[in-house]
C-alpha cells in the first residue's frame, strides 16, 4: 500500500514493515529556511544584484566586478552566505511548487518528489562545487 503523508509535524505513520518516520519535516525545515531568508532580505538582494548595481543606481556599477565577487566568495563568511542563499532558495521553491501540484489536480507522488527535491539537491551540489572551485 502506498502511503503519502503531507504534514508539517513529525508523526509516525504505518509503513510496509515497521513504523516509519516521514521525511517531510526535513523538507519543511529547508523550505522554511529559504522562505525566512528570502522574506528577510530577498527583495533587497534582488534590488542590489539585479537593479541597483547593473544600473549604477545608489551603488557603483562596478561593485560586482570579478575581483570583488571573487574576494566575497573566497571569504569563509561570504562563501557560507552565498551557499545559504542559493541552496535554501532552491529548496524553498522546490517544496512549495511540489505541494502546489495537488492544487492543480496533479496527483504528485514519489516521481514528482524525485524531480523537485532532486533539482534542489543538484542545484545545491552545483553551487557547493562552484564555491569550492573558486578556492579559499
Amino acid at each position: 500500500m502506498k502511503l503519502q503523508v503531507r504534514t508539517t509535524h513529525s508523526i509516525r505513520v504505518a509503513g510496509d514493515k515497521a513504523q516509519r518516520r516521514s521525511p517531510e519535516p526535513i523538507f519543511w525545515a529547508l523550505f522554511g529556511a529559504g522562505g525566512m531568508i528570502s522574506a528577510l532580505i530577498g527583495p533587497m538582494l534582488v534590488f542590489i544584484t539585479g537593479i541597483a548595481i547593473p544600473l549604477g543606481f545608489l551603488l557603483p556599477a562596478d561593485a560586482m566586478r570579478y575581483e570583488n565577487v571573487l574576494a566575497l566568495v573566497q571569504n569563509p563568511i561570504g562563501k557560507a552566505f552565498v551557499l545559504a542563499v542559493v541552496a535554501f532558495f532552491f529548496w524553498h521553491a522546490a517544496h512549495r511548487i511540489f505541494h502546489s501540484l495537488h492544487d492543480f489536480g496533479i496527483d504528485a507522488g514519489n516521481g514528482a518528489r524525485l524531480v523537485f527535491y532532486g533539482s534542489a539537491f543538484v542545484a545545491t551540489v552545483a553551487a557547493a562545487l562552484a564555491l569550492l572551485a573558486v578556492g579559499f
Binding site: 539585479g50 547593473p54 551603488l59
Partner: protein, 162 residues
C-alpha cells in the same frame, strides 16, 4: 428490474481522487443511472479571492526559484573565470534583465509580506506576560526585522563596494 448499488460510485473504483472524477468521468455517467453530480474542480481557486491570494502566495516560489537559478548561473560563471563572469554581468545589464528583476522585486516583496502575514499561524504561539502575543504584533515585528536586515545588507554591500 435492475438493482442499483447505492455504494457504487463511478470514478472512485478506479482509485482516482474525488476531485478528478468530474473531469475525467471514468466509468462514464451512462454506467450509473443515478448520474450523481460531481462538482468540477477545474479552476476552483479562481472562484474565491481568498484562494486567488493563496495561489499567488504559493506561486511566488516560481520566482524565488528563478532568482536562485540566476545566482547559481553567476556562481558557475565565476568559477569558470573572468571572461565568463563578465558575460553574466553584461546579461544582467540588458533591459530585459532589468525589467525581469523589477518583476522579481515586486514578487519578492509580496512574498515577504505574505510570509510574515501567515507567520503567526505557522509558528508556535508566543506568550508574553501570560498573554498570547497578538498576530499583528508578530507580523509587524517581523516586517520591521526584515526592513532592518535589508538596510544592514545594503550598508554592508555599499561599504564592501567602496
Amino acid at each position: 428490474m435492475k438493482t442499483i448499488d447505492p455504494l457504487h460510485k463511478p470514478g472512485h473504483a478506479a482509485g482516482s481522487p474525488v476531485y478528478l472524477a468530474g473531469r475525467s468521468g471514468q466509468g462514464g455517467e451512462a454506467a450509473n443511472p443515478r448520474r450523481p453530480y460531481v462538482r468540477p474542480m477545474a479552476g476552483w481557486w479562481r472562484r474565491n479571492p481568498f484562494f486567488v491570494r493563496y495561489m499567488a502566495r504559493e506561486g511566488s516560489a516560481l520566482f524565488v526559484g528563478a532568482y536562485a537559478l540566476i545566482l547559481l548561473v553567476g556562481l558557475i560563471r565565476l568559477a569558470q573565470g573572468e571572461a565568463a563572469f563578465n558575460g553574466w554581468l553584461a546579461a544582467l545589464q540588458s533591459p530585459l534583465s532589468i525589467a525581469f528583476h523589477g518583476l522579481l522585486l515586486a514578487v519578492f516583496a509580496f512574498h515577504s509580506w505574505t510570509w510574515f502575514e501567515i507567520m503567526p499561524k505557522t509558528m508556535p504561539p508566543v506568550r508574553v506576560g501570560g498573554r498570547r502575543l497578538p498576530e499583528a504584533a508578530i507580523t509587524g515585528g517581523a516586517l520591521a526585522a526584515a526592513a532592518a536586515a535589508s538596510l544592514v545588507l545594503f550598508v554592508i554591500v555599499r561599504e564592501l563596494a567602496r
